[in-house]
Amino acid sequence: MSVVAITPDYEKHIQYRDEQALYHGALLVYVHWEEHLSFVSAFAVSLPPDTPFGAICEIAKGIYGDHPDAAQIDWMKVEWMIDSEQATPDFGKSIAENGVGHKSLIRFWTPGLHGYQGTPN
């Protein structure tokens, strides 16, 4: 153990506060629209592992709908990255089948849409 602790049995008392088991069967997933940094950060959402990947697009539409670029997103052309790996998700299959795990980070780029007036906002 790397913590320098006064109690020799420190590890026995650790309370893990972010394990998947604490999320009532769901996965905590993060989704981030690249080049649109006016949105404060990736959004967090908890989803059952059998949620179809396409649902992520629907949720993203709700979160990002106010942005002038949002209506022009062609979801078929979006470029995806799941946990630092480029990905071509199958929208009909579940997020788990597409390789999304607990606290996965899904980043996406929208070709031709590079933010408000071409600035990454």
């Binding site: 153990m1 790397s2 913590v3 320098v4 602790a5 006064i6 420190y10 590890e11 650790i14 309370q15 893990y16 506060r17 972010d18 394990e19 998947q20 604490l22 999320y23 009532h24 769901a26 905590l28 993060y30 981030h32 690249e34 080049e35 940094l37 006016s38 949105f39 404060v40 950060s41 990736a42 959004f43 967090a44 959402v45 908890s46 709700g62 979160i63 709908g65 106010d66 002038p68 946990d83 795990g101 607990h102 606290k103 996965s104 980070l105 980043r107 408000y116 007036q117 600035t119 990454p120 906002n121």
Partner: protein, 504 residues
């Protein structure tokens, strides 16, 4: 026959170190069980120097005198309706942030210095920690008393103790102090005594207190002055502790360096809130955050580390990253406040044209290029009646607990993402600084109570935003959302109209 008066030096000896004694029926190590496990080696506790040589009896005398002056000013401020003389109603949000984020931290510091004073075996150190502990308790008391006057008129201040434990952005200062307090006493002294009270304190107190002075808030200025002589004592304690540890044993250097690296970065992240406050929340501005950083960290901090180089101590690891980020963080953090103030206990607002020009002038490299378009887009949406609020819950950094909003060093067009996996679970970080801290002690940070994650786990009053806000004790439609249209604004406008009609 009258007793001969003691010299200052004698008084100091008798009333501090002479109060200590050699225990006879308990071994010293069992009386002070906490001051060895961190690996810090102390050869000679009497090497501790206390340049203030303040004794407890004169401490009480000085503090009582300051209290009398402070409360006289606060009374006069209240009797003269000083709240109507501030620069603008928006300014009050600075006090809301201070009371909810900083004042509870004073209390945490009080508790922690009491503990540290008890558990370090050197008598000089113990007395210094004891005084600082009492100072910190006095600070939170005077802050509550000062701000309670504003609480009679403005919203968002009444539930600050509970909010500190629950509200998402307040977990940033809370977790900072929880981290320091759950470390050993030496790390605590480097974290709070040195990194916070010495290295970074001017960046906290100067902006708030000068900001208060510039904006007509004389009661806050007075508590600032009342705390100032304490702060200089705290700074002295902070610098003494680092010199003492480095002089005692060469093995202490790598441990101390790691703590300095860690607490510099944690402090920098925490002070990002002050950066947004300085650049965006003060109706009358003091200086920009970048200017303050250059004076108080780059120049003063640089000189300090030059001085400490003789012990082998280096500049904090991410000092340059922080300095570069100072061109960005106030704008990024105000963007955070602007779009999440519907779930916060204070108001944010759109900077006006004059304000944006000031930002362009102060941030010629970054504001127009990256941040002006952001605010212009939102201003346009406001004009169309679609004031923008972020419609989701943000991803949080597993170390500093801020939303993951910061950009890559050297590339402000990309969000900075870092992660580590520990025992099969992924953890995300906003920066290399935060990732390093986690990687050094993952067992500690896997226990973090991350507010957004806790909402999903079902521990924050319910699954919907109204339920969570209710649990946060945020009075929806009153405490939160934009300043424009808030009851605070209505009140302020009515005072101003009254002033004009009386003058006319």
């Amino acid at each position: 026959m009258t007793a001969k008066k003691l010299s200052l030096k004698q008084r100091y000896e008798f009333l501090t170190r002479d109060l200590d004694w050699e225990p006879s029926y308990q071994p010293v190590d069992s009386i002070f069980p906490y001051d060895q496990f961190e690996g810090i080696k102390i050869k000679d506790w009497s090497g501790w120097e206390d340049p203030f040589r303040l004794t407890m009896d004169s401490y009480w005398k000085f503090q009582a005198e300051k209290e009398r002056k402070l409360y006289a000013v606060i009374d006069a401020f209240a009797q003269n309706n000083g709240q109507t003389g501030i620069s603008d109603g928006r300014y009050i949000n600075v006090l809301k942030l201070f009371l909810t984020a900083i004042s509870p931290a004073e209390y945490q510091a009080h508790r922690a210095f009491a503990f540290t004073g008890r558990h370090l075996r050197g008598a000089g150190t113990r007395v210094a920690c004891q005084m600082q502990s009492i100072d910190e308790l006095r600070h939170i008391q005077t802050q509550i008393h000062t701000i309670s006057h504003y609480n009679k008129f403005f919203d968002g201040m009444s539930e600050f103790p509970i909010q500190h434990d629950r509200v998402f952005y307040l977990s940033v200062p809370k977790s900072f102090f929880d981290d320091a307090r759950s470390a050993g006493p030496f790390e605590f002294m480097i974290a709070i005594g040195f990194a916070f009270e010495y290295l970074l304190t001017n960046l906290l107190f100067v902006p708030f207190m000068s900001g208060a002075a510039y904006n007509g808030d004389m009661s806050t200025v007075t508590f600032g002055f009342s705390a100032q002589s304490d702060e200089s004592r705290h700074m002295t304690l902070g610098i003494e502790v680092i010199k003492f540890l480095l002089e005692q044993h060469p093995d202490n250097l790598p441990i101390v360096q790691r703590w300095v690296d860690k607490w510099f970065w944690r402090g920098f992240r925490l002070l990002g809130v002050v950066a947004a406050m300085m650049d965006y929340m003060l109706p009358k501005k003091v200086m920009s955050w970048k200017e303050a950083w250059d004076i108080y960290f780059v120049e003063a901090g640089g000189a300090l580390f030059k001085d400490l180089a003789r012990y082998g101590l280096k500049m904090p690891k991410y000092a340059n990253v922080a300095t570069e980020a100072c061109e960005h963080i106030s704008h990024q953090n105000w963007g955070l406040f602007y779009q999440l103030c519907h779930v916060a206990g204070f108001h944010a607002w759109m900077p006006d044209a004059e304000h944006m020009d000031w930002l362009s002038e102060k941030y010629p490299n970054t504001f127009d290029k990256y941040y002006r378009p952001r605010f212009e887009m939102w201003a346009k949406q406001e004009k169309e009646g679609k004031r923008f609020y972020f419609n989701g819950l943000p991803q949080l950094c597993s170390c500093c607990q801020l939303p993951m909003l910061y950009t890559e060093p050297g590339d402000p067009t990309k969000t900075c993402f870092r992660n580590s996996t520990f025992k099969g679970t992924r953890y995300h970080f906003c920066s290399d600084g935060c990732k390093d801290i986690f990687d050094n002690e993952p067992e500690k940070y896997v226990q973090s109570w991350l507010p957004v994650n806790q909402i999903f786990q079902g521990n924050c009053g319910g699954a919907t935003v109204p339920e969570v806000l209710d649990w946060y004790k945020i009075n929806v439609g009153v405490d939160n959302c934009d300043y424009v249209g808030s009851p605070d604004e209505t009140l302020w406008k009515s005072w101003m109209e009254q002033r004009f009609s009386e003058a006319g």
